[in-house]
Symmetry: C2
Subunit: 113 residues, 2 copies
DNA sequence: GCCCATAGTGTCGAAAAGGATACCGTGATG
DNA sequence: CATCACGGTATCCTTTTCGACACTATGGGC
């Protein structure tokens, strides 16, 4: 691969990781696999995230073209988040993680305890 | 799923992410997919990582049971790192990431620029 | 008039991640 | 005798991450 790295140098795995850095983005993307969600729906699905972090992660995901943010100019504000086509293309990665977690997490915890 | 979460609460994707947090671990695991590597071999494969970070990440991966660290009591120190069985079971996740990166990164960068 | 929900923003500060540099012991090389 | 490579440690520092909390505007319910 030629040295055309614009933001990060390194292999494709390294550059992929730079897009989904932090634990939150993967989780947000995973929750959105099921379909469009509003801001507070995401908050309720990920109880351990704070408002501030969720906002921030959503903005970064939007900037990276992985999700689409739609604002409805209503009296109670309504903002919907959807996976973009590119975001949805991450589905194999997300599903691989979910399946690995389902299959391995309990035993890892038992051994690493 | 019952509330048996020992370290992190949340879904399996969330708990999986807590094991491979940070950009380095995924990359280290990915490099180790090809086979056993020594410390400085890993350093050369991941030029942007510092010694300190590599050491730290390797220790955490070892503590989580994803890699195996073998020390040979030789005069030039020789330490080899190998994926454990559990670490190797992450192969689908790692390969899904690599393939996504290969397929999507250049266009993402073009659009997000 | 006051509190609720929505979808955030702003600020503060702690904690963690990450980088730079120096240092360790050993044996071989020069 | 000085330097090198190996596989790290130790220390210092900056940057980023992340949580807690307060605050915003709007309209509706009480």
């Amino acid at each position: 691969m030629p040295q055309k790295a614009p933001r990060v140098q390194g292999c494709s795995v390294e550059r992929t990781m730079s897009l989904i850095d932090g634990k939150w983005k993967i989780i947000v993307l995973y929750k959105l696999l099921r379909g469009t969600l509003r801001f507070n729906e995401l908050r309720r699905l990920i109880p351990s995230i704070t408002q501030r972090m969720l906002t921030h992660q959503l903005r970064e995901l939007e900037a990276d073209g992985l999700i689409v943010r739609t604002v409805y100019a209503q009296v109670p504000p309504r903002v919907e988040y959807t996976l973009s086509v590119r975001g949805r293309s991450l589905e194999p990665v997300l599903m691989a993680m979910k399946e690995w977690g389902d299959a391995n997490l309990s035993s890892v915890e038992a051994e690493a305890a």
